[in-house]
């Protein structure tokens, strides 16, 4: 951690060296640790401390970027010189809208001392609980517990300086037998909100019930999807079309559909950086306050998220969704996704299904066709046949090829409990319920 005062010193030093040229700075610190286990033992156990400073330097509308993790005078001087040289070489960007002026920011609670100082021994003790429970059942537990803290500073030559601190924790485990597996995961910004024992028991239960899986024919099935699957649905829809840049380039599932009923009326999706039940962040990486953005409201497509660059191109204000400087080319990004919970428990959804599949998780999902967000992937860590309202037998993993847009149009029921999952890449958080979906297409199965 560098603390707010030292962060100010760093940004002031850089701005001074920019000698009056417009400049934008991101400072991100990361102090995190991860304890990884497999075969009921800890096999990897790591920690890192880093601070990265990224600068965008402007000469009129010429833009150059540089980043470093050397925070001494020489390191910061080189940073400015590299960014200046890059700007000098770069032709002007006629679309550049300028830097934002100072704004008023909401403060959100997202720091927990106990999480920031969580010790290697405490992480090991959490792992020990799950490994012991698995070993008692003759099963193999693997997984990881992460605890850490970070700082984000956004500053610019217009006078913006904003500072945010955050802690994070995540526990995930896969428990396996020789022919079955189960998985559970929870994320939080307070480590005390994670219950390793409960998560371990969920995974163990699925692994115990999953013995002797049966190969079934691919085809169309009604599916009850745990919230882990919903996270994948939202994440994929996010990357293939919730950004204004995707819409502007005609490659989003939203194109020509804004204002139309595209999904089930039970589906509402939004992004909200200020909701502390997610992984809150009050401003974006340009220093624009985050707004709640309705993306789908009761099945009707409402619109994408914007940063200043794409907003200026499309005649819209930024909604506070600029990504870090080094990722600006990807366009704006929804980082704090929510899906509205419904009124059914997972058990209710199973009980109401005459024939279908219960699926714990999707894996290795990749886009096949962007317009309808057609995805392919595998089921993993728990698939069970549902017959006459009950789980009857475990099923071997299946491959699906399915439009996620259509899947959300086919939603029959939404879970009443929502859970927080923070994704591996990009730190995108999703607060999501389980779903029951009709007509889900499976196109293959595995050995």
């Amino acid at each position: 951690m560098i603390e707010e005062k030292d962060a100010h010193k760093i940004t002031d030093t850089i701005l001074k060296r920019c000698q009056g040229n417009p400049a934008e700075i991101n400072v991100m610190t990361n102090d995190s640790a991860l304890t990884r286990f497999a075969n009921n033992i800890i096999h990897q156990n790591v920690a890192e401390r880093d601070t990265e400073v990224t600068l965008r330097f402007f000469i009129g509308k010429q833009i150059g970027t540089a980043s470093t993790n050397r925070l001494d005078e020489a390191g910061l001087e080189e940073l400015v010189e590299h960014a200046r040289a890059n700007a000098k070489a770069s032709p002007p960007d006629p679309n550049y809208p300028g830097l934002p002026a100072p704004q008023t920011y909401n403060r959100v609670a997202s720091w927990d001392d106990a999480t920031a100082s969580y010790s290697p021994e405490k992480r090991a003790r959490a792992v020990e609980i799950v490994c012991k429970l698995a070993a008692e059942k003759g099963l193999n537990a693997s997984g990881a517990i992460t605890t850490g803290s970070g700082e984000l500073v956004v500053a610019n030559s217009q006078g913006v300086f904003t500072y945010h601190t955050q802690t994070n924790a995540d526990f995930q485990t896969v428990v396996m037998s020789n022919d079955s597996s189960g998985r559970a995961q929870e994320s939080a910004w307070k480590v005390a909100d994670l219950d390793a024992e409960s998560l371990g028991k969920q995974a163990i239960d699925a692994a115990m019930r999953g013995h002797n899986p049966v190969k079934i024919d691919p085809g169309e099935y009604t599916v009850v999807l745990e919230h882990y699957v919903t996270e994948d649905l939202l994440g994929s829809l996010n990357f293939s079309g919730m950004s204004a840049q995707a819409v502007n380039e005609g490659r989003s599932w939203m194109n020509d559909r804004i204002g139309q009923q595209l999904m089930s009326p039970q589906v509402s999706i939004w992004d909200d950086g200020l909701d502390t039940s997610g992984s809150p962040l009050p401003f974006d990486f340009e220093g624009v306050p985050k707004q709640r953005v309705d993306i789908v409201r009761q099945g009707v497509v409402m619109g994408p998220v914007y940063d200043r660059y794409t907003g200026a191109k499309m005649g819209k204000p930024s909604t506070g969704h600029a990504p870090p400087i080094n990722f600006r080319g990807f366009g704006p990004l929804a980082l704090n996704l929510f899906m509205a919970p419904g009124d059914k428990s997972v058990q209710d959804m199973i009980a109401s299904t005459e024939k279908g599949l219960y699926i714990n998780r999707f894996w290795y999902t990749r886009i096949v066709h962007p317009r309808e967000c057609v995805m392919t992937g595998m089921t993993r860590d728990g698939v069970f046949m549902i017959e006459n309202g009950e789980l009857t037998f475990p099923v071997k993993n299946l491959r699906f090829t399915m439009s996620y847009v259509k899947a959300l149009d086919n939603v029959e029921a939404v879970g009443k409990e929502a859970h927080l999952i923070v994704g591996e890449f990009g730190g995108i958080s999703s607060h999501i319920p389980a779903l029951k979906v009709n007509g889900f297409m499976f196109t293959g199965s595995t050995v």
Binding site: S32, I42, Q44, T68, H82, S90, E128, G329
Partner: protein, 476 residues
């Protein structure tokens, strides 16, 4: 050496330390505008200790003596915590005492090329794509990376390496109605990358291929769709085959996956140890090799991140599964020695088993003769989508472009091509591999594995090859 001494004083049986400086430059041009021109530098060190059979690792960007001491003490503290849930004693096999220096061979250092020259090349390539009517967006980019790495261990190894990578490519996207079609060059996602200098990128002639790439993207909008749910003969182009090798041979031969170390994340492998030496992975024309010595490969270096010297080992010989990608610890469990596959993505990550250059060895066929020898089938090239199950059996790939093959000739253009299969069935259906004239070292600079996430750069040499009885066209 300060870290190694301290670790030893704290009781470590083994310790190693890596100091890394990594420099990246990236330039991209999109639709005539510079999308990004950036330079990035990161440096730091990581200390790995083995204490009473348990591992600990800590890392920091701060290279002061005080911080070196602090992260070493922290690595020891972490190792002691690991002991609370530890298993049998770790055996690293024979000591590693490598000494020396290594530098990636190159003619032109990409960092020495003027930014203006790079921008001119990209602007030209981008503008050429823009001349093609119907293209919606077009993008050209180059990247250069230089990594200076010092490695030392408590067994006496001390190596110094400077690894240089150059990469880039072009991509055109066409949009029409509900169709979105993309073409890339030289590799899928416009990301060809090699260990080497700027001369390699110049050889790809991005501007010279730009109009063809853009025209293909536009033509795909109105091309016939790939036939749906049929079984046919498939010829894969080299870059698509490189990814097929990556996913269905490279990953399942990682011995840490076989031993369950990646079970919770990347998954396990169907290539379990009892299959070693007696499992028919592919047909007799299938020969797959892991090496860290071939020119241009992104897995080419002097030593891996355990100090083991670069080398070449067979994974599949005449169709028989004969080898794994190994670390010191996993190799010792099989009574073997490491084949230099431990790689860390940076100073702040531990080394884990990663692909080096995993390549399909060339066969005997000329490409034109192979097409002429194919009565009925589909040619597919340039990856668009890839997915495979957690044991690396069931895969499904999509490609940017395809062509029907009828009576030994390339025919109509096909869009939205996909194919699917089960790994050993697929490789056993391979009946022809093209010769060395068609063999290219492809780069995959985006291989994800490990927790915390690590992105590795891997090389895959491949020439086009033919597969019989493959299910294609899963999209209706």
């Amino acid at each position: 050496m300060r870290a190694l001494d301290l670790a030893e004083r704290r009781g470590a049986q083994y310790a190693d330390v890596r100091m890394v400086e990594h420099r990246t430059e990236g330039i991209s041009v999109k639709d005539g505008v510079v999308e990004g021109l950036s330079s990035s530098e990161t440096q730091g060190m990581g200390v790995r200790v083995l204490l009473d059979g348990a591992w600990g690792f800590a890392s920091s960007r701060d290279l002061t003596n005080a911080e070196v001491d602090q992260i070493t003490e922290h690595a020891v503290e972490i190792a002691r915590a690991s002991q609370l849930v530890s298993g049998e004693k770790v055996d690293l096999g024979p000591a590693v005492t490598s000494q020396g220096t290594y530098q990636t061979p190159y003619e032109i250092d990409p960092f020495s090329v003027a930014l203006e020259d790079k921008l001119t090349l990209l602007m030209n390539a981008d503008a050429e794509m823009g001349k093609v009517q119907g293209v919606r967006t077009h993008r050209a980019h180059v990247t250069a990376q230089k990594e200076h790495k010092l490695f030392a261990n408590s067994e006496g190894a001390y190596t110094e390496q400077t690894l240089l990578e150059t990469g880039g490519g072009i991509q055109a996207t066409a949009v029409g109605g509900t169709e979105i079609q993309v073409r890339s060059y030289p590799n899928a996602f416009a990301r060809q990358q090699v260990t080497g200098g700027w001369e390699e990128l110049l050889g790809w002639d991005l501007p010279g291929n730009a109009q063809r790439v853009a025209s293909e993207a536009v033509a795909l909008l109105t091309a016939d769709p790939c036939p749906s749910n049929i079984t046919t003969t498939l010829i894969l182009g080299g870059s698509q085959l490189a990814l097929q090798v990556h996913e269905s041979c490279g990953h399942p031969t990682e011995l840490d996956r076989v031993f369950g170390s990646e079970a919770a994340y990347a998954g396990t492998s169907f290539l379990t140890t009892e299959k070693l030496g007696n499992f028919r992975y592919g047909s007799a024309v299938v020969n797959l090799t892991a090496d860290s010595v071939r020119p241009l490969g992104l897995g080419t270096f002097g030593w891996d991140d355990e100090g083991v010297p670069a080398q070449s080992t067979p994974l599949v010989k005449d169709g028989l599964f004969v080898g794994y990608l190994m670390s010191r610890e996993t190799a010792a469990k099989l009574g073997r020695t490491s084949n230099a596959c431990m790689r860390a993505s940076g100073w702040n990550r531990i080394p884990i088993i990663r692909m080096v250059n995993v390549s399909l060895e060339p066969g005997t066929w000329n490409f034109d003769n192979l097409v002429a020898d194919t009565e009925d089938g589909i040619y597919m090239e340039s990856n668009r989508s890839w997915s495979i199950d957690d044991r690396r059996y069931n895969f499904q790939f999509g490609t940017e472009i395809g062509y029907e093959i009828k009576h030994g000739k390339m025919g109509r253009l096909l869009r939205n091509c996909t194919y699917t299969g089960i790994t050993p069935e697929f490789w056993n259906s391979c009946d022809a591999v093209c010769n060395a004239d068609h063999w290219v070292m492809w780069g995959t600079p985006n291989c994800g594995k490990g927790q915390p996430a690590q992105v590795a750069h891997t090389g895959h040499g491949a020439a086009p090859a033919r597969f019989r009885n493959v299910k294609v066209g899963v999209l209706k």
